[in-house]
Amino acid sequence: MPAHPMDIRIKGLTHVYMKGTQFEKRAVDGVTLSVAQGQYCALIGRTGSGKSTLVQHINGLLRPTSGTVSVGGMEVAKRNLRAVRAAIGMAFQYPEHQLFEETVHADIAFGLKKSGADPAEVDGRVSEAAKAVGLHETLLGKSPFEISGGERRRAAIAGILVTDPSVLIMDEPAAGLDPKGRDELFEIIGRFHRDKGATVILVSHSMDDVAAHAERVIAMDAGKVVMDGPPSEVFADAGAIEAIGLLPPETAAFMARLRALMPELGAALTVGDAAAEVARALRARSVIASSQGSSQ
């Protein structure tokens, strides 16, 4: 962990696209938000709600129309850009589209070399990053264009993790992956979060992924933050979630329907929690039933 925590502080952030034209659009509207170092946050909201615009201010890819953003006490401005970007890893949707080098190894090393890492360290850190994403050593010498789609995604993520960022911003990282690839990707992100104490900001449309992995959920609508809290709290109000154009996690919806039959059921957001909750309720019933049976 760095000497001072890389907290993200966003104050009164507004971003207006194409200002002064007929296409003017207020994508982010007065957002104030902080994310402490080490938090696993999810940013949810319908398409066009301002999530991607918001996260692109954190590493200075977009400049605020008004308001400020700081990371670890540094204001995200031109003079700090290099330091800020070195501390933040960011993956866009389909990150494998950024691959360009002749070998997978060179591509993973790209960001590392740009950050001025010791050349003697490069090989070791590239191997470590490749291992972290489950990319076999033999693939490192191949061209990024001759490996499979899933391997390309891993290589691209490795190229982001290799610089050991304190903050990891992932914009729909699992888009287009099969269920197994999806699980493995979230395992990679989760492991990086735990082992390195990194902040994770996950932008996602999959409420199931969000419910399963994030400890804090921030919901946006029309450029504003409308809900912010732990998943159990944010997803508790299914009506509010639907009002901003999203659907609650499938497990939550399933539990809500099951509650019509078993009113004593509590809430659960993941399949594991739901199974445990149903088992608990059933056990409680059978205890009651058997105690009633024995008293007769």
């Binding site: 589209h97 790209f110 264009f145």
Partner: protein, 270 residues
């Protein structure tokens, strides 16, 4: 950097200029380009500019959009006008300032070049702002269709043009996305010498070409699966029709151009 691409930008409207047949507009624009080079003298150029402003006003587009094309080419306009004024020595001296002399010939050369560039660019903007790219490509195809007799693949050329225009915004959005992804990994596009800057383009150009080729491949499959087989016997969703508006536009343009050429070529007019 890529946000201001206005090539072929079309702004929807309901004016007569919008509704006119793209072929009429294209021919009128080409004729106007010819007229620009045929006329001489201060008054004819100013009159032609005034006429063009009147036409632009008919389109009911905000003036800002019409003049946007000029803004992007302002350096070329200013530079070439300045060169003409500075290095022309014909005619009588009008003004003298140290080593520089402004002659009547230089003033006129600068003026006519300025007017020619401004008129051509503005007319081009009016054409593309009021005509959909698809309409323009259709007009080119229709006007060149006699060439099919000598086996020129006119339809294919027009299809290539249509697709190219259609993909400008897609590719420019893709470029912006790739630039951001590489910037997030520490790429720096502003610093370094010429070699450094050229080198920093590699991480953008390689993914861009890869995705453009992938897109082309997917598009080809999509077109073939819809049974596209080239121009032979193909009909159009919006077939071009020469209507009353076109007749009016064509007659007005023809009359105006004849007048301009007749009037503008008289040597006595200054």
């Amino acid at each position: 950097m890529f946000g201001e691409v206005t090539v072929g930008q079309y702004i929807h409207g309901e004016s007569a200029l919008h509704r006119a047949d793209p072929r009429t507009k294209l021919i009128a624009a080409v004729a106007l380009f010819a007229v620009v080079f045929l006329i001489r003298g201060y008054v004819p150029y100013l009159a032609l500019a005034a006429a063009l402003i009147a036409v632009a006003a008919c389109s009911r587009l905000p003036l800002r959009f019409v003049l946007k094309g000029l803004k992007s080419l302002r350096l070329i306009i200013v530079f070439s006008t300045a060169v003409n004024i500075l290095f022309n020595r014909s005619g009588e001296a009008l003004l003298e300032a140290g080593p520089l002399t402004l002659t009547t010939g230089a003033a006129y050369a600068g003026f006519s070049l300025l007017m020619r560039l401004t008129i051509i660019i503005t007319a081009g903007s009016v054409l593309t702002l009021t005509t959909t790219p698809i309409g323009l490509a259709g007009a080119v195809e229709s006007l060149l269709s006699p060439l099919k007799a000598i086996r020129v693949p006119v339809h294919e050329m027009s299809m290539v043009m249509t697709i190219a225009i259609r993909f400008i915004p897609t590719i420019s959005a893709e470029t912006a996305r790739i630039m951001k992804a590489q910037a997030a990994r520490g790429s720096d596009f502003d610093t370094g010498g010429l070699v450094g800057k050229a080198r920093s383009l590699i991480p953008i150009l390689v993914p861009l070409f890869v995705s453009a080729i992938r897109r082309a491949d997917e598009l080809a499959v999509a077109m073939e699966s819809r049974c596209y087989r080239g121009g032979e016997g193909r009909t159009k969703l919006r077939s071009l029709r020469f209507g009353k508006v076109d007749l009016a536009v064509a007659l007005c343009a023809a009359a105006a151009f004849t007048a301009f050429i007749a009037f503008g070529r008289l040597p006595s007019v200054f």
